[in-house]
Amino acid sequence: MIQQLSLLFPMLPMWLVQAIWCGVVAVLLLTFFSLFAGPVSWLERRIAGRIMSRIGPNRVGPQGIIQWLADGVKNFLKEDLIPRDADKILFRFAPYPVFLGVTLTLVTLPFSSLLIGADLNVGLLYIVGAWGLVVIGLIAAGWSSNNKWTLLGGMRSAAQMISYEIPLVLSLLVVVLMSGSLSLQTIISSQGASPVEWFIFSNPFAFIAFVIFMISAVAEGNRTPFDLPEAESELVAGYNTEYSGMRFLFFFFAEWGNLYVIGALAASLFLGGWQIPAGWRNFASAQGPILPHVFEVLMFQLKTWIWVLLIIQLRWTLPRLRVDQLMKVSWKYLTPFAFVSIVGTGLWMVVFPEGWLFMKYLLLFSMLAVIGYFVWRAIWQLRFTKSKADFKLIV
């Protein structure tokens, strides 16, 4: 790509073309991030409204769809308060690592076989490392505010995030074992388009690793049921109590951006990423060079959005964990099971080098049964609620 570009602009030196290209890609990714985080904040509030039998934002634009823009403008024009007793430098510094920690992971997310910021050969390690930056920001925010609530929130978030990083990293190791690479594109290409070729169904231990990954990723993103750092009903607002205006907004940018990162990681590491069936690929290739990539992007978005919506629903369904339970789940359940799944996957690969098709189908159908039960239960719940007296669905 860069070679072609430098042919287009022969008067510019090579490094400048490269730098401009990198800059364009970075700006595109940042724009995508903002355009994701904003509307998802509206979507989440609408879904929350539905789940709690209230309306949610529906005034700004049709169905309130540009509420996020109004919120953005409001926060942009709001006075930026810094408490008198706060550590002012640290207070100003805190939003940077939080925001960067989440956005930096976007660089390696593969949207299609071509559409990727940079396919780093240490992609997974890089993602874990970049994600770790968030902790620094949260602790800095909690400590610098000189407020007891924020200190508690910051400390809790640090303890939570570092505890859940262990099972997260260990469950990623299972993927590395199966693919033999840390680069996200290689991980995706070593899976296939059909569900039985995905890593999640390749053996029972990988399935366990997927469950561990999802739980600890949700905990890393500070979402309910693991939202102790900002427990509204206990700590006012946790680590961001003293923040207002744009600085406050950046913390929430990161929180909603995290949703996408979690969904995209789950999709690309365990669920085959952008892989599309060969039949579709042949059909699309016959139409032109662009259509296969459109299909790939759509496939990736579909898989990602399923997890984004599921995590949003989880937040408004489950109660918050207690702090001692939180530590117990991470250290006494997830970590030992992650050890088991690493050794188990290795053993499985030695015993069944070609994989065991029966087990793959068994896992696939048990997953389908769980999804089927979920859908049936959701429909039943909707019917039950409708039959109860004076409840009306408010649009």
Partner: protein
């Protein structure tokens, strides 16, 4: 490859500029009239007593210590896991599995030690002398 890392660097710089720029642009537009009450610390409306910068509960540091050990060991396992498949294809699968098993065993022994020492329990019993 270096080009890819250049993208990461440029992305980080642009991310910092994005935050800094929007804060700077906002500072020309937003009001700024602080007063003593506004710049107080918010602790549910009560005047706050003492500083928030206090010695904090030891448990958090214990967890951090355990984390450091486990994270370093997990990071060391990434290269081993990355070549596992290559070894498997070249017929050394059992040896590679034994190595990974040994590594996990050491990690698990560490976890067991911390567990038995009750450093993983959040609610601690205070034993009086």
């Amino acid at each position: 490859m270096l080009n890819d890392f250049a993208l990461v660097l440029i992305f980080a710089v642009l991310g910092i500029l994005f935050i800094f720029g929007s804060l700077l642009a906002g500072s020309f537009l937003r009001p700024k009239n602080p007063n003593p009450v506004k710049s107080e610390i918010y602790e549910c409306g009560e005047p706050s007593k003492g500083s928030g910068w206090i010695n904090f509960n030891m448990r958090f540091y214990l967890i951090a210590l355990i984390f450091v050990i486990f994270d370093v060991e997990a990071a060391l396992m990434f290269p081993v896991a990355a070549v596992f498949k290559k070894w498997l294809l070249s017929g050394n699968g059992i040896l590679a599995l034994a190595e990974i098993g040994l590594f996990v065993l050491i990690l698990a022994a560490g976890l067991l030690y911390v567990w038995v020492k009750k450093d993983l329990d959040w609610a601690k019993k205070v034993v009086s002398d």
